[in-house]
Point group: C2
Chain length 448, copies 2
């Protein structure tokens, strides 16, 4: 028979069940944390109209187009797959603003698609997990602090003990540039260069600025700013250059409020080198690093924007939000063994079958009573030897196997085999659920 | 500023948060039920290679093509969005069969896309929730019964009290056709006509067969078969026509085993009129109807197939599975008020803020202690009057508001306002969590 190419498509990840189970756990924790802070779920279609996707320009090359079949109405506009969740949010809020209550706190966990050239670590399809808080006309700066706090809670709940949320305020870099009478296009260049070089230190960033033809005075000022060891020193650099200090005021407020919100001081760090040059943020900006795994880059980034949906509505909608790239995070957490791969199935108890002709109803009853207690269970229904059934459980990482032949059943008992150590205990049928719960708790104290 | 068309795209549904919350509840229940029966999660990319999607032919018109941006490698094949989860499953199992353990029990909950002409009740993007059990070379018929049982449990857990799983076996109709020396193309026509007419009764189906030029003898036999009030009568029709009774044997076995698996007798019904003519099933077939809402059509359908992935691998992979169309189910359950729309946010307690300058840290503490007990809470951080904050809670359907001004705080107490009846109670801060839990339980006994 003709066989068709079934190999993976580059950039489109697909996992075996053990990895998908970890991915689901990550997505579940993120969702639960978002909901605990009162973010409401929305989901937008995977496709948007082309003019919506490209309203801000610059990303056209990254958009996958979606073609309609030949039977199509021809009046419709071209469509594309969304490449982030912010553009769809802007379109959603603009089109439904009269039906929403502001501040609108929403989370959105969906796949996005980017038509990038496939390369190591770059996905063309991946999960984003976004939260944003959108105000109507105004939005208090305290929400910027709350967003930082939510990031901390998400990673705490994931069991990632060491993370650091780096925060800055984009106005600091732009006001310093303005103080040197730099035009807006050059300001963007400066931000892009700082974004690129600041991980290597203030000196490297300043050198790059000089290399690209910026004044020595300007480069020196940026070097002193990025080199500042505390906020007072940084503020002095701005004041010395005659620059506006609004960004500095906001940054201090957000930082202090995040601590007041319960954020541990070692989870948040002012980092004036964050520029997020290519984005449209206008105030607070965030990047998040997992301690010891900083080379993976930021696992959660975002910021404050003056106006979410200017292309789609006249209503002014300031907002603040962040996005977790969950697919890359999955790779980080599994490869670092922070969340190692485990079982290949949710099944906790496999009910083995022996004399099916006589005892099938009993086996089905055992599984039903386990499920009644919330214990995922399956009955092995192929006519195979017990050894094969045990091998099946072992291959899948099922922790317990229930074995009951005519001997046990005649005594109203069953055997429970702990697949971890091979130990097998006979117990009365009446104790099944209690004993299974006890064994499962002892095998995985965090579970359930 | 130029404004871009932000109206919905026909056929691509998008909900406000209240409806998305119900949709999530439906998807959660389906997932939990599937996991309780030991189905393992997988997810496949939204796109597949064109030859994979069209291997079985016939659905090309329904496939949305996906175009790569201009910077693309030209060596890649064309891509399209998957239109179901069965074709991706076949490709997945074929390409990974050496890494999987059989029988492979998987569930998959994802969006699928169909480029149908948009019309009322037809979605172009919608959720499918599939389970399948795939054997290697063989798969016991008992698994067909288990699938029926899982459908029952899913709908019970959703709180849909009256459902009926209609089952049949495709071999029954095909063997009767064979007994009349009908060729395979005419057999397909017969199945398609029966699929279309059998809801209107045996007489209508037989009339349609005659109308389309089939023999009176043949039409009469099908009429007697579809009219049979019990399995013995139906079997007699087959025997009388000299037809093979394998399908009848299998159907009886699956029906009896489903009852043995604990399926209530009123949840399952033999219905020989199910043909699922355009599908590739070869044995058991299922359709599921919500009692009193039969006009919505089947909410969960599927069947047994001899060989899942013949186009992709030489390994014989028989399987059985069903799919729930969750987006249409959402419309059915909300419109029928079986699952009415409720709150627009997960927030259970809004912490109102009054004298933020003095008391913000206290408000944040209250929210943190509620969250610590798993109660979704948010602090209102805009500088607004209490009346505005209560209106915000009312608009969103937040059940409780915590109010604490200087008077209450000086007494170490707070007020909890029940937004349902407007009743407001003062209580000691130390009792906050316990009292919030009690009130929430009283408002929604099923919750949490």
């Amino acid at each position: 028979m003709t066989q068709i190419d079934v190999s993976p498509i580059s950039g489109f990840p697909e996992w075996l069940p053990d990895k998908r189970i970890v991915e689901q756990r990550i997505l579940d924790v993120i969702r639960q944390s978002y909901e605990l802070f009162g973010f409401a779920p929305i989901e937008t279609p995977s496709v948007e109209r082309w003019p919506v996707l490209t309203a801000k320009g610059g990303i056209q090359r990254q958009v996958f187009s979606v073609g309609r079949p030949s039977v199509e109405e021809t009046t419709e506009q071209e469509l594309g797959l969304h490449f982030d969740l912010t553009v769809p949010l802007a379109r959603y809020v603009a089109s439904r603003s009269s039906e929403l209550t502001f501040p609108f706190r929403r989370y959105q966990i969906q796949k996005v698609w980017r038509g990038e050239r496939a390369q190591r670590g770059r996905f063309r399809e991946f999960y984003q997990c976004d939260i944003d808080i959108i105000g109507s006309e105004t939005l208090d700066l305290l929400y910027d602090a709350e967003i930082a706090r939510v990031i901390g809670v998400v990673f705490d709940t994931l069991g990632v003990s060491g993370i650091k949320v780096h925060i800055s305020n984009r106005k600091i870099l732009t006001s310093l540039a303005s103080a040197f009478q730099v035009d807006s296009s050059s300001t963007e260049t400066i931000l892009r260069l700082i974004d690129k070089a600041s991980r290597d230190g203030a000196t490297a960033a300043a050198a790059l600025l000089r290399e690209e033809g910026f004044d020595t005075d300007l480069a020196d000022a940026f070097e002193r700013l990025l080199d500042a060891s505390d906020l007072a020193t940084a503020r002095a650099v701005l004041v010395g250059a005659g620059a506006d200090v609004t960004g500095m005021d906001e940054l201090e407020q957000v930082h202090d409020a995040a601590l007041a919100l319960g954020m541990p001081a070692n989870q948040i760090e002012v980092d004036l080198g964050i520029a997020r040059g290519l984005d449209y943020y206008t105030g607070t900006v965030y990047e998040t690093f997992v301690t010891g795994h900083e080379t993976w880059g930021s696992v959660c980034s975002g910021g404050r924007y003056e106006d979410l949906a200017g292309y789609f509505t006249d209503r002014r909608l300031p907002g603040v939000g962040v996005s977790i790239g969950a697919t890359r995070l999955l790779d980080l957490l599994t490869q670092s063994e922070i969340m190692p791969l485990g079982a290949k199935t949710p099944t906790k108890v496999l009910v083995a079958t022996q004399d099916r002709a006589n005892y099938l109803p009993r086996y089905l009853e055992f599984a039903a009573s386990l499920r009644g207690a919330g214990i995922a269970s399956e009955v092995y229904l192929q006519p195979r030897k017990l050894g094969d059934q045990l091998r099946y459980a072992g291959d899948l990482g099922i922790p317990l196997v229930l074995i009951a032949g005519s001997a046990e059943l005649s005594r109203d008992s069953i055997q429970l085999r702990n697949m971890n150590d091979g130990e097998q205990t006979e117990l009365p049928i009446a104790d099944l659920v209690r004993e299974a719960e006890r064994l499962l708790r002892s095998l995985d104290p965090d579970d359930r």
